[in-house]
């Protein structure tokens, strides 16, 4: 680091570790979250995402290691709502209180007024139900209330734990747009999900964990590339000849139907060049990218804690 290109990290976790009894929920996580990006925090259910979120917010104490927000422990911020806005996965709303009073009570801790509360209720679309008790809310309405809470203090960093849970398609679309516009504003958005497909839509950068350990810290494209080990599909009338020409030690060629090869370990450019040099006619040359979902499954296969036993 250093020099003009230095980007201030908003969240820095260093060897973060958390044990509950003799169960290790978070195991030596080191990562950073930068402003102006949507950083996806991915992992199967039970992999330690929510625990990490709670550690960042000082709700739980780390067993060892350290995590800071804007250079300080969350607990040491004099006005935390202006630094970080958080949506926690588990409901964090008194079921007997209306959405309006819930937001107002939290706003008042920072001297934030009623006007702001009303603005945010409108923003998240809860205007018509703001005076209803939160216990009567659907999961989606609860998530919207959580988003409003996170945005109360106009924070530069947002921490959202599974925000699309329980939302209808319109709500999911709304969240995606919101996350992108928040990042475009220069804010850091750290959003967890167990759904790879969701991250493919919104995130620029991925932090992937399994069983509390870091699996990947990379861009979305890089993640797919690395995990999938791209496969090239070739369709040719001279498939058998081509098969011998491209064979090599790190290259595997499979064929499921006559005239079609699936080649792993070589680029599509290379296959095309070999074919041209040998005068082989190609009817198709396609780079098959594993979907983000497949890449995720591949990487976390050994790290899913509760796996359905597959009958052997």
């Amino acid at each position: 680091m250093g020099g003009a290109a230095t980007v201030r990290n908003v969240i820095e976790a260093r060897a973060l570790m958390k044990d509950y009894g003799d169960k290790r929920a978070v195991d030596g996580l080191t990562f950073t979250v930068k402003p102006g990006h949507v950083t996806g925090f991915l992992g199967p259910n039970g992999s330690g995402k929510s625990t990490t979120m709670r550690l960042i917010l000082g709700l739980d104490r780390a067993t060892s290691g350290d995590v800071t927000v804007n250079g300080k422990h969350y607990r040491d911020h004099k006005a935390p709502f202006h630094e970080v806005g958080a949506l926690l996965e588990a409901r964090s709303v008194h079921t007997g209180r209306s959405a309006y009073y819930h937001l107002l009570a939290l706003a008042q801790t920072h001297g934030i007024g009623r006007k702001r509360v009303a603005e945010l209720i409108d923003l998240v679309g809860l205007h018509d139900v703001a005076r209803k008790r939160a216990g009567q809310f659907s999961l989606g309405m609860g998530q919207r209330l959580g988003i409003a809470t996170a945005l109360l203090g106009d924070p530069q960093t947002l921490l959202l734990d599974e925000p699309v849970n329980g939302l209808d398609p319109e709500g999911i679309h709304w969240i995606r747009n919101l996350l992108k516009s928040l990042a475009a504003d220069g804010r850091a958005v750290f959003v967890s999900s167990h759904l790879m497909s969701e991250m493919a839509q919104t995130a620029d950068h991925l932090i992937v964990i399994g069983r509390g350990k870091l699996i990947a810290d990379t861009s979305v494209e890089e993640f797919v590339r690395r995990a999938s080990g791209a496969v090239v599909r070739v369709r040719s009338p001279q498939a058998d000849r081509l098969r011998h020409l491209i064979a090599g030690p790190a290259i595997t060629v499979t064929s499921e139907e006559p005239g079609v090869l699936e080649v792993a370990g070589v680029t599509s450019e290379k296959v095309g060049e070999i074919a041209a040099a040998n005068g082989i006619v190609l009817h198709e040359l396609t780079l098959l990218q594993a979907s983000l979902e497949e890449a995720f499954m591949e990487l976390t296969r050994d790290d899913v804690e509760f796996k359905a036993a597959t009958a052997a």
């Binding site: 006005a79 935390p80 926690l88 009073y101 801790t109 945005l151 203090g153």
Partner: protein, 275 residues
């Protein structure tokens, strides 16, 4: 159409830090915006005033049938403050709920992300709940006093006045006791973090343990009894103090000491525990 447009988060002009005063305001909003608060406090007021009124009416109508010893056992202040014995239950339950309601619903996580130092939340809950409980209980016990006296005065029996020695102290003491009892229960709630557990604990300490002391020899009872929370607290509003009970000031001091210990334990655990 609105679903397509990217929502724009309005900017916040002023930024303020978390202060104890702001947290107190926040806790006031939390307290008055719950239905359970209004019901508990309503029940406390009705019991505080209603019970003495009924006792006064019953005593009045039976006065003619009572023997001299039975009459001597009746005291106007016992009647006036009889409601406190029951309304303290409503106050105690509310004291527990003020904190355990946040744990059972998950609200506590929102509260602690807003105020990550945590202790200001506990102090604010104690202040707000204490002030509200006292401000409602004081007029209630005064009303109970006047109502019971008015009913008794029709038969011209058991008359006393706030200007009589110790009477004003007892009446105000009744309201103070109810408030302090509620704060004790709030601290218990913060320690056990569970509504049923908190209620069971205060019922055990205040209503189950005292009668159990009867298994001890009388000399032991006389030595132990004045110092248990229940007796110490009641000394604050009892008019007469025998050889085996503490003075009002002494009882208040001991009761406050119990509360201080409970609040201190609650504070330490609140800061240390994961949420």
């Amino acid at each position: 159409m609105s679903s397509v447009a990217a929502p724009v988060v309005p900017r916040l002009e002023h930024t303020g830090r978390v202060t104890q005063l702001r947290v107190i305001l926040s806790e006031w909003t939390k307290l008055h915006s719950l239905r359970s608060t209004r019901w508990s406090l309503f029940a406390a007021i009705v019991l505080t005033i209603g019970l003495p009124a009924i006792f006064a009416a019953v005593t009045s109508s039976h006065w003619g049938h009572m023997g001299p010893r039975e009459r001597a056992d009746r005291h106007p202040l016992d009647i006036a403050l009889a409601g406190v014995n029951l309304s303290q239950l409503a106050i105690g339950v509310l004291g527990v709920l003020v904190i355990t309601g946040e744990y059972s619903t998950g609200m506590i996580r929102a509260s602690f992300t807003a105020v990550p130092k945590r202790l200001p939340v506990l102090w604010a809950k104690i202040v707000v709940f204490g002030v509200v409980a006292f401000l409602l209980m004081l007029p209630s016990v005064l009303a109970a006093f006047w109502a019971s006296q008015a009913i008794l005065s029709k038969h011209d029996i058991l008359q006393t006045s706030l200007s009589d020695p110790g009477v004003l102290r007892s009446v105000v003491g009744g309201a103070a006791y109810a408030m302090l009892f509620g704060i004790f229960c709030l601290a218990l709630g913060a320690i056990v973090r569970n509504t049923a557990g908190g209620i069971a604990t205060f019922v055990g300490v205040f209503f189950v343990i005292p009668p159990l002391l009867n298994v001890f020899p009388v000399s032991w009872q006389n030595a132990i009894n004045p110092w248990i929370p229940n007796s110490a607290g009641r000394s604050i509003f009892q008019l007469t103090h025998g050889p085996h009970s503490l003075s009002p000031a002494g009882g208040l001091a001991i009761f406050l000491a119990y509360i201080a210990v409970a609040v201190a334990i609650a504070a330490v655990l609140l800061v240390r525990r994961d949420t």
